[in-house]
Assembly symmetry: C2
DNA sequence: GTAAAAATGGATCAGCAACTCCAGAAAGGA
DNA sequence: TCCTTTCTGGAGTTGCTGATCCATTTTTAC
């Protein structure tokens, strides 16, 4: 349950739909033009609502930004949480890497990670925003961790491996790789980052094979 | 040699000092408040110059931003280029990791990487800015690569290792780790990211020991 | 020493974007 | 049905911020 749902106690179905349209429009625009580069006028036009609508559903721009963070957390992490849970083998990790790279290819390496971009832009400006993004990253790390734990349970990874650190390192590699991918307009650095990290997982898996 | 030096052909020593003061003030402010959150009025006051000074040395805000990118490239990468070149052992890598973490500790995990933050904020908004940041990252990657090549030459790493990819992966890990460090206000994720990557280098060094 | 070029100060402009207001339409609840 | 609440429309306002202008002082070059 998000914080914003508490702040708008009474919402008719129609109102909820309008609110969603505003958040989605804002999320799309902020992904392309950045938070500061996105005016509420843009959001208004893109969502097809009037000026007052935005302020009917959100106290100010900051409140809208926080709703966008919640939205992206669900869209990016939530939608892939079950996918991460099934990352229980090195082969599955490599398939996931291929999907991530293919997606960036389709995007022409533009935009990077929606959550990471929001965090980088708002980290020092908006306390709540920073917390929201951190929460999304924690959720993301937990999802990856779940996969690594599965690899321990099925004997792929030895129990001695620090899966917490490994999951954090994997997420960091992904984020850094996405940033380099965006700025170099090439998937090569993303591939290098993910491949190297997956190679390390494979090393951990091989170096201490299951003893059953 | 930076591009900006070509655009301001005649600069008195006094003028160059004033220009530098403006760029440094802008860099500091943009690191803390972000690019969009930094007004030229802030820069003017912080640098102790009048409004017209800024426009005397820079065509517009975008030009100042590009100068800030050049400045940060030199400050962050340039200043540590020789340090990177001496990273020719696993122990040296671990010492470097300690320094990075100690620095983030001193900063209270605020701000992240100055170059990464600029890239994330400007990546999709300013073509020249994106290219400038990418150039800085390339320089950074090359510096790390230099260290890995040294490790090959002194026999620490086998010649078969793809040092290009390894250097890129190390930089990505660092960037992602810094982002998580900033957003979580903790050096733990940064440590996890760097440790895991250095462990991998150590694995590559050990798995195929020098055959001399 | 003098003229040209560069540097400085500060007032001011103009546009934009966040935010407000109020009136009216639609929906919900009894 | 009728009354309350929610939703919508769009004009309007205010403050900020990037940018301009011109006069004045300082420095450089010969």
């Amino acid at each position: 349950m998000t914080l914003t749902s508490k702040l708008t106690p009474k919402l008719t179905p129609k109102g909820a739909a309008t609110r969603s349209r505003i958040v989605e429009a804002a999320a799309d625009l902020m992904f392309v033009r950045g938070v500061a580069g996105t005016t509420l006028e843009h959001v208004r036009d893109e969502a097809g609502v009037s000026s007052s609508q935005v302020y009917h559903y959100f106290a100010d721009k900051d409140a809208l930004v926080r709703a966008v963070i919640d939205y992206q957390n669900d869209a990016v992490v939530g939608a892939q949480e079950d996918v991460f849970a099934r990352l229980d083998s090195v082969a599955a990790l490599r398939a996931w890497r291929d999907e991530v790279i293919a997606h960036q290819d389709r995007m022409n390496c533009m935009g990077g990670c929606p959550i990471g971009a929001l965090g980088s832009q708002l980290g020092e400006l908006d306390y709540d925003a920073r917390r929201g993004v951190a929460q999304g990253f924690h959720r993301w790390q937990a999802a990856i961790l779940h996969g690594f734990r599965s690899m321990q349970e099925n004997g792929t990874l030895p129990a001695t491996v620090d899966t917490e650190s490994l999951a954090t390192a994997m997420l960091a590699s992904l984020q850094g790789g996405l940033l380099l991918c965006q700025l170099h307009r090439s998937t090569d650095p993303l591939r290098a980052a993910m491949d190297t990290m997956i190679d390390h997982v494979a090393y951990l898996a091989v170096s201490s094979p299951p003893t059953r």
